[in-house]
């Protein structure tokens, strides 16, 4: 029966290819979207959780944009008033306040900017995952600097190298190179906060202050107090995550709607293919009835063909989703705010199972009408050609 169904399908290779191709595209898009959503959500969560900070004080302006830039290590045009750090540090609920200043130095010749992140010693406490691949894990002097793993590769630097900056009239020494962490840290240059402030020639300038609370439950009260800080605003990490996830959610519901529409079209296409195949073969199917096939046997044959076709499309679709994922992952990463650097796409078995089940259900739906048609065929017509 199985072989018979397979041969019937292979009898019309173009039709088979078109029908399975439709299924394949639908399935692969679906899987990709799901993997992207799952991966992004998980990545965002780890990235935000890892630092163990509950809120961030940023300059006035769009708070999410500011926070996202800071987390990604991008520079901000605006800066915090200098007295903010002191006031945050003196708050009794704050266990740690880490100031940072992000400076971007354009490299005209290479059409990119180097990003220098100035940190003071409190910043180290927020980066427990830092591991030195070479040299030290933290600055050993005020003009030492630490390179992310990718930054070190691009710059072709190793520990002990000196780097002279003519604009600043300063020489930096590479103190350490970090091992790959899969976060935005990999592509950054870290320098002591004071050195960064010297770079921009502005004592006390800060881009943001990341805050860890003694008791995260007191977030609300602290927020209220920090709202009063002049020239500054507060963003909580949960808010930020919520915002990104909502954004992602909207995009996803839209694409899910599109994919569902594509699935309906796919099922209709499959139905059309099967119906055409069945009408075309009605004489042969009558003949099978004449030879002793029961109504359910010929109907089963048609359903089996539909399921086979669907599964072929599913398997190809899964393969295609993986391939497209490999290609698209690096392309999508820079486009998404706060995208996790290591695995943007999270392939989950559950999604695969959902697809397989949906495929079988879809195949049954598409096979219903042709099966009914086949069930009505009477053997009497088999004698006349």
């Amino acid at each position: 029966m199985f072989r018979f169904a397979l041969r019937n399908l292979l009898r019309r290779p173009v039709r088979l290819a078109l029908a399975t191709g439709g299924v394949m595209v639908g399935i692969s898009v679906w899987l990709l979207l799901m993997a992207l959503g799952d991966g992004y959500r998980a990545g965002l969560r780890t990235e935000l959780d890892r630092a163990g900070i509950q809120l961030m004080v940023v300059p006035l302006g769009c708070p999410y944009d500011a926070a996202a830039r800071v987390l990604k290590g991008r520079s901000l045009e605006t800066s915090l008033p200098s007295e903010v750090l002191g006031r945050v540090r003196s708050d009794p609920d704050v266990s740690l306040a880490a100031p940072l200043l992000i400076v971007s130095t354009p490299r005209e010749d290479e059409r990119r900017s180097d990003l220098w992140v100035g940190l003071d010693d409190s910043g180290r406490a927020l980066r427990p995952w830092w591991k030195a691949a070479q040299g030290a894990g933290w600055f050993t002097s005020t003009n030492g600097f630490i390179l992310g793993s990718e930054a070190a590769l691009i710059e072709m630097r190793s520990v002990g190298d000196r780097l002279h900056s003519p604009e600043l009239g300063q020489t930096f020494r590479v103190d350490g190179i970090l091992s790959r962490s899969g976060t935005s840290d990999d592509s950054l240059f870290f320098i002591p906060l004071s050195a960064a402030q010297r770079m921009v020639g502005q004592e006390g300038r800060l881009t943001a202050v990341a805050v860890r609370l003694r008791d995260p439950a007191r977030l609300r009260e602290v927020m209220q107090r920090f709202q009063e800080l002049p020239g500054a605003q507060v963003v909580t990490m949960t808010e930020m995550m919520g915002t990104f996830l909502r954004l992602l959610g909207t995009v996803r519901s839209l694409t899910i709607a599109l994919t569902l529409a594509a699935c309906v079209v796919g099922i209709l296409g499959l139905l059309n293919t099967l119906l055409a195949a069945v009408v075309e073969r009605s004489h042969e199917l009558r003949l099978l009835r004449a030879l002793g096939a029961s109504r359910s046997q010929v109907m089963g044959l048609v359903i089996l063909e539909a399921v086979l076709m669907m599964w072929a499309g599913l398997l190809l679709g899964v393969a295609m989703a993986f391939l497209m994922g490999l290609v698209l992952e690096p392309m999508l990463q820079p486009l998404l705010p706060l995208a996790p650097l290591d695995h943007l796409l999270d392939w989950r078995l559950v999604r695969l199972l959902q697809c397989l089940i949906a495929g079988v259900v879809g195949a049954f739906l598409a096979a219903t009408l042709p099966a009914v048609y086949v069930g009505r065929l009477q053997p009497a017509g088999a004698l006349t050609p």
């Binding site: 029966m1 018979f4 041969r7 019937n8 009898r11 042969e284 003949l287 099978l288 009835r289 004449a290 030879l291 002793g292 096939a293 029961s294 109504r295 046997q297 009477q378 053997p379 009497a380 088999a382 004698l383 006349t384 050609p385």
Partner: protein, 245 residues
């Protein structure tokens, strides 16, 4: 199943009484058979003859449980065809009827061997040895893995004959089995029929071919859906078969 036949095979395989068939096409009706009455005994070789459109195929369809009569009764191997359910008729076709078609009716995507095994497959039996024995019987052992398109007409018809035998049915209707074959090939097929009939199969052949018609031991002549002439019954009783299939 209702009206189960006796364990002893009844000598009368087919009993038709006032058999009528009216085809309906929208508002039009075509009466293809008008109250045909006859009996066929086990082991007979009957030729059904008559001009084109006289109802031969219609009659064969009824005798092969492919269709139900509009009026009259048809008892086939003890079963009243009209009162059977759809699946009852399927069972009848599967186990008691081995149909042979004018156009061979081989499935093009299956090999000769697979085609022959098809009725057994529907009956959920799998007997590869029997299939190859049947192929040897009809002289197609060397063609078992060929596809129908790679066979000559005679070979196709012999494959179809092997297929009709695979479930060992007692009744063996054939609609112009030699209609698409040349004289010589037709005679080979006729030889096969006679051999099988001698083995106890009941053969019903619709034919325009006089050689075949005269080889039969009885002739049913149809004109406009009616049986012509006195149906005197079998001219000679063939030897009594050992049992059904």
């Amino acid at each position: 199943m209702r009206n189960k036949p006796d364990t002893e095979p009844h000598p009368i395989l087919i009993q038709a009484e006032g058999l009528s068939k009216v085809y309906r096409r929208g508002s039009e009706t075509v009466a293809a058979l008008h109250g045909v009455t006859f009996e066929i005994r086990r082991g007979e070789f009957v030729a059904i003859t008559g001009p084109s459109g006289s109802g031969k195929t219609t009659l064969l369809n009824l005798l092969g449980a492919m269709d139900v009569p509009t009026a009259g009764t048809l008892i086939l191997d003890g079963f009243d065809v009209a009162s059977l359910t759809e699946s009852g008729r399927t069972q009848l076709r599967r186990h008691r009827v081995g149909f042979v078609f004018q156009h061979f009716g081989l499935v093009p995507t299956l090999t000769v061997e697979e085609n022959v095994a098809l009725p057994a497959f529907f009956a959920r039996r799998n007997d590869a040895r029997q299939v190859s024995e049947l192929l040897e019987t009809v002289g197609l052992g060397h063609r078992r893995n060929y596809y129908p398109s790679e066979l000559s007409g005679g070979e196709m018809q012999r494959a179809a004959i092997a297929r009709a035998l695979v479930n060992r049915p007692p009744l063996w209707p054939a609609d112009e089995p030699t209609g698409n074959l040349d004289m010589q090939t037709g005679l080979t097929v006729l030889g096969l029929f006679r051999r099988l009939n001698a083995d106890g199969l009941t053969v019903l052949v619709v034919t325009h071919n006089d050689v075949i018609a005269s080889a039969a031991n009885r002739r049913l002549d149809l004109r406009d859906g009616r049986l012509m002439g006195p149906d005197t019954g079998p001219t000679s009783m063939p030897r009594v078969p050992a049992g059904p299939g």
